[in-house]
Amino acid sequence: MIELGHRLIEAPRRWVVAAEEWLLAEPRAIHGAALCRIGTALSVLGLLVANFSSRDVWVGQASIWAQPVRELSQFPELALLDGVSGDILTAFYAVTIAAALAMALGWHTKAANIVTLVGFIAIVAQNPVVGDEGDNLLRITLLWLLLMQTADFWSLDARRRERRVAATDGSVSAMRQAWDGERVFPPWLSAGLHHVGLIGLITQTILLFTAGGLDKVSQGVWQRGTALYSTMQLPEFRPYPGLSDAVSSSSVVLALLTYVVLLTQLFFGPLLLNPITRRIVLFLTIAVNIVLAVLLALPWSSLAFIALTGLFVSGETYERLDEWLRATAAPVGDWLVLRWYDMQDLSAAVLDRTLWAVVDRVRAGASRR
């Protein structure tokens, strides 16, 4: 009994120590964080590029009609684009696109992340009427990613860092380091912040899937397995009417899709507990999002969800994937480079026979005169 009491008192202390160890260890899930950064940035990029040509009506001067709801919004970033001219909007929009691209490539990642976040909020919050839940998700992900080390893999920053470590002793000013997307904080703080961000983003993800799943399961249509039928009938969710009708005409496909969506959202959190079910649920979540991206024309929010899912894949899986990709991509790359040389030779030959021949003849004629 005394022993038990002692253990009960000791337990919380042990937990705190274990938590400290966990938080201050080498950053975890850096592959997942990198993939999440790339996916999220591409999602922002895709959304902005898709709406670039109609930006004036969406969020620019011609969106004056949406002013009444815009005024209800509390984002301070809105002031950046308050009543600006079309040219300033275009410039701002272009900068945000560039920042999202830089973030995807991992070029000055942290700075790009900040600019993307601010630009994204400032643009998207201008017109809440046509906003969707993907906007909230992207904003929150971008926020948490700020705390995390997202540029350790698959980034230009990581490449440059490798080169610099090889070339010099790596001593440059803190400002320069910050601009280059390197760690300016001492290791304990960057590792700690990374893990805090990881906790925040992971719980956010689990919360959102669970909340979405709970809402679905409480609706009869989802329990009956027919929920997606009516959605696929609506004009805004059927980019390819033939495809939608084909899917909804087969009650097996419809049931499968409906139940997979329902169960992967509802049970997302607990299914992560076991390594086997984790693989299953992550695979299904990604697969379902790809299907829905096409079926319901939701490419960018689907990508944002897939990016989050990537956070839960283990580092080993990513390393294997990376190796496989490199091995598969190498021949393709070699082939492309060779074709590139062929193309250059061919164009040179063509030019020799056409343009340069003409030029030569003209020059020769001119000199003869």
């Binding site: 329990q223 009956r224 397995g225 027919t226 049931a255």
Partner: protein
């Protein structure tokens, strides 16, 4: 083709049967959906032994006190026709539930009788319900007569049969109970009352006992038509009477 051994055949059959049972139970246990509806003919073998009904206070938890009361008509010594007082049989049974860690099984008989009794009644059409309600107090019809009267209006025989099952059982319990209270009275008719008293609304839960009692919505009652007294065997009546004595 490899030879199928008895062993693998046995295992295969066992696995297939278990797998079939597993799927059938899954379909039957979840709330009805179009897939379980489609499979219903193949899962019907589950009833009654494997009937899956796990609603457990859902979707709507029980939110009222359900009571069954009994009343009888008898001929007094002076020849006049009188009615007995109402007997609240649920209150008697609740003695087995209140303040007992392990309630007696018999504490829930009327609470379980209440539901099907009402359902069978609601299964009848308006005209049939009137027929069933307005049986004469001085000479209640025989069961065969009541059945004929109900069918005369064109009601579905299945529904009428179900209704009569519960009416007969309840009339018999009513007779036993009334005879237990007043053994020497000559019963000429019996009837039951279903009383539903909604609980204190959630919003009023924090009031004083008096306030809470006042906030309870009004109870609804339905009195059945008069039925012919159907006394059980002597042993049955003795048992009901002894139960009544101990828990009254």
């Amino acid at each position: 083709m490899p030879r199928v051994s008895l062993r693998s055949l046995f295992i295969a059959v066992a696995v297939i049967m278990a797998g079939f049972q597993l799927v059938a139970v899954t379909l039957a246990a979840l709330p009805p959906n179009r897939y379980s509806d489609a499979a219903a003919p193949r899962t019907s073998y589950l009833a009654p032994y494997f009937t899956q009904n796990w609603r457990l206070f859902a979707p709507s938890p029980v939110a009222e006190d359900r009571e069954v009361w009994f009343q009888g008509t008898y001929t007094a010594a002076d020849g006049s026709v009188k009615t007995t007082a109402w007997v609240d049989w649920t209150a008697v049974e609740l003695d087995l539930v209140q303040h007992r860690l392990v309630g007696g099984r018999a504490g829930y008989v009327t609470s379980k009788l209440y539901g099907p009794l009402g359902q069978a009644y609601r299964g009848l059409g308006t005209a049939e319900r009137e027929t069933a309600d307005e049986t004469p107090q001085d000479s209640p019809p025989r069961w065969a007569q009541l059945r004929a009267d109900l069918l005369a209006g064109g009601a579905s025989p299945g529904r009428v049969s179900t209704f009569l099952l519960y009416e007969q059982a309840t009339a018999r319990l009513a007779t036993d109970v009334l005879l237990s209270r007043w053994p020497d009275r000559e019963l000429t008719a019996v009837r039951y009352r279903l009383r539903s008293a909604p609980v204190v609304p959630y919003e009023s839960r924090s009031g004083t006992a008096a306030e809470r009692a006042a906030s309870r919505p009004e109870a609804t009652e339905r009195d059945s038509g008069w039925r012919r007294p159907t006394p059980g065997t002597a042993a049955e009546r003795r048992t009901v009477a002894s139960f009544d004595r101990r828990h009254r």
